[in-house]
Amino acid sequence: METGEEFGPWLARQLKLAGKTQAELADELQLTRAAVSAWITGRSTPRPTVMTDIAKALGTDVGTVHTRTTDTQAGLPVTWYHRPGYSDGGRDLGNAAAFAFDADVQVLARETCQNSLDERLTENGRPVRVRYTLHELTGEALDSFREAILWNDLFPHYSAVSEAAGNQKVGRVVDAGVRDMYEKGRLVLLRVDDYNASGLIGDDYADGKFAAVVRRQLESLKSGPGAGGSYGLGKATLWATSALGLVLINSTLSVPHEGRTERRVIGRLELPWREVDGEPYAGPAWFGRPDPDSPGAMVARSWWADEETVARLYLTRESDEPGTSFLIVGAHDVASLESRSDADDESGGVEDGDEDTRDIRKMHGRLVEALGRDFWAAMTGGGSRLPLLEVSVRAFQNGKEVVPEKQVDPSVEQPARTRALRAHYEGTTVDRLTEAGQVAARNVPLKLPLSGGAHGTLGTHQAVLLVTEAEGDRDGDGGKNQVHSLRGNRMTVKRAGVQRLPLGTNPFQAVLLVGEAVGETAPFAMEAEEFLRAAEPPEHDRWGQTEELTLRWSPSAYRRISALTAEVNNAVRELVARPKRTNREGGEAVRKALTVRTRPKAKAPAGPVVPVLDKLDATVGDDGEWRITAEVSIPRGDEIVPMVPVAQLDVRSGGRPKLEWAELVAVEGCEVEDETLRFTPGVRRAKFRGSTDVTSHPVRTTLTRLVLELRAGKGE
């Protein structure tokens, strides 16, 4: 059984929620105010009979009062609170942070997974588990979900936004989202759960992770200096992915708040400025319990929901392990349209001809692809190092699993890179590559500048470069000959190709570990980590000049990164390319001109066109003869060269024995005359059949290979 919170604080909150004073409760129970006060301060607890009376007074059952795992339903019910319009008449037509992102589940995957990784509980050494669930609701399931989120209260707001939709982007997106739900009768929920993470801890309003995610914009309260995120932008992708601008949250806390940890629930809606029933609204709205302490008891705060409520909201968490579940209501994936051609293979043949941004199978494929691409390193362990992250993706339709849960396996998604990193952890790297499948390691220096614009070098951090052979076609990402760079959070930041490789270089994949990715104890690992984090733009996709770098170090600090890149490319070239020979006689140009290589063939001259053999069926007949049926394709031309079909037996070396024809018959488009095919002018295809003369066979037919050729002229 769950352990409820202390009776005193619990009762105090119930009174506050119900809008009752201690005196009023004392009156109802016909007790003194001092007795109630003593319960609340924890000096005493009520007798069991009084418990029943308290339950009655609070409008709940005795069980709730005893266990105290949820709030009573007394007082103000869970509702939507819409932030009123600004008194100065200002209007925000959408959230700028969400504007920065397109609806793209791959960006969502990157940002949310990075957040989970940053919030991992590190003490127990276990990985953070992240699970993406796509859930398509239709019919009854959709109706009851809409009821659960009080859709009827929201609808006027959506209508108001739709009416003004012509004017701005967010409105149009929302309008399209609502229309899709009604026209197609469906709604896609995308849930992002993490387990073994800190959860949304802290007060509803004061500084803390809860407020940072739910109440504030552009605030990042990351747990450590090595964190991946640093701008507080990532959370905006949650709302950007929702066509309805609606995200519901259920968090299990790692540090109790108000004496509780489980089922802290709140919803947040991002809409542009709107006017409903003559009242202006600023934009955001929150789904929660009205806070009696707020002015007019209007502001919605998170509440401790019961299991039934979270189930109705599709927010049930599978265990009491700390972490957060985000439910994106009306998820769509506009970016999938661009990459439609490569996503087609994964959609399992579901091709309805409609460019659908809400296809859960397609989204499933794109999530797996993005997670494998960006987080393969965090998912890789080896030696004494455990993986930091485990991710899985699944898809449901009205509670029925349609794509089974699939744990993203880095050695499937990124076999070569995963092998490289694993070899590094296990200490099985080599100095030079002598066998396919080996991993070569090299140290590459990163000279860290002194901060504050001072000249000179703080110290040299030795980054580790790993190079291994690329794994054929299974490495679907961005081609071969790439360097992926990682720092402490083990998320791929930078991918870049290596230029100026000689022709015929064996395809490879390289991984560069910098900062704490090398190991926390590596010299200057922390400094390198800090430096590179400052050099990351909000997209976390490269290292280069940023404002922060300029301010904290110097305007030329980014050159240290360029120098690192140059060193890396040299080291890669040294490992994978042959050294250039120095004294080649006669110079490179002559040698190149004297290499026999395939070139585009010369154009056929004008004049009679030459038919070619296009299709051939052959069987061995009852008497041991070869029976053939052949199709010929004829290029467009006025005059067609007569051709002679020649049957030969294939040999390994020397001349091929020729077979005589016993019979040669034209089927269509040609006629046979003296074992020569003459084609009807104007036809593009012709067909003939024939059988060989067994007496001309030098060996048993079943032990031969037949070669059929068409020859111009006499055919000898």
Binding site: N506, R578, L594, K603, V620, L703, T704, V707, E716
Partner: protein, 331 residues
Amino acid sequence: MKIYPYKRLNRPVALRVTSVSLKLSDGTRDQLETTAYSTQQQSVALGIAGHIDWVSATIGLSATLPPGANAPDAAWSDLSVLAVLTDGETNVRTSADLTLDAEGGRDWSGSLEVLRDDHLGRASLAVYAVGTVDGVRGRSIAETDRSWIVDTVSDEPVRGLQLDVQTASFKRSSREWLQAYADAPWIVDASARVPTVFVNTDVEGVIGLLDSNGSGVDSKVRDLLVAQMATDVWTAVFHGAIGDLEVEPGGAPVFPTDWQGEVLREMLPDVFPGVHVEEALRQVHRRRTGESGWVELQTRIHYAAVRRADAAKALAYVIRSLEQMNRESET
């Protein structure tokens, strides 16, 4: 088109080289770096490490059979996979059995021993999946569609045959026959193992010009010179190849399997466009040995050589940079 009288697999076997090591004459082994082979060019260069005294090479191989090779209802049994190294010059064939990596899988691996004395230069490496079909043993069910090239001499794993270029002072060379050509800037020897171009260092500055790698007019002139040389070389090589054909009993020529074959395969489509190379070879042979048509063919041969030498491009560049130079000197 080829037809087999039994059931086979349509798709080819994929072959990869995974390691190369040399056994030296003193009994030691040198494990070569993976740069000794190129998976893109599908070639192995055993000369890369600069050893002159190696005795044999061990090439590690991995082959993947096409889907269906191990299907339970397949028409074949006793499946085995062989790597076969064929040298068209020395007519040596070496084969090695590969072993199945994992039961039920389609990956086979093993290694092939290449004895240096068996080969002159380039040999081709293919993999065959063979089995018993219709009661006949050793039938090929699938093979690689493109062979790897194992070059025992080359120091660069490139697929294309590279003709040899040598520099020598024709007057003072130990190759006495060169002295007869002392006034020629270069000469082609098509009778060597691979056709070789000798550049005469007695012509002052020719080496410097060929080695130059600037971007000015020099390099354009160099390209023109190279194009001129290449035209000569390709013409000579073509004649060398065509003059030396083996002839079948019926009088038809056999396609050569050594460098001559490679040269002919590349050049014949330009000499006789629009027909199969084997047909083209027959026509060339007929004209050379027959009554007429050989003289007319010279234009086509010349054209094929010019195309290979990229003469048109080189000439255009020279003209353009000359024009530019003239304009600059006028202003």
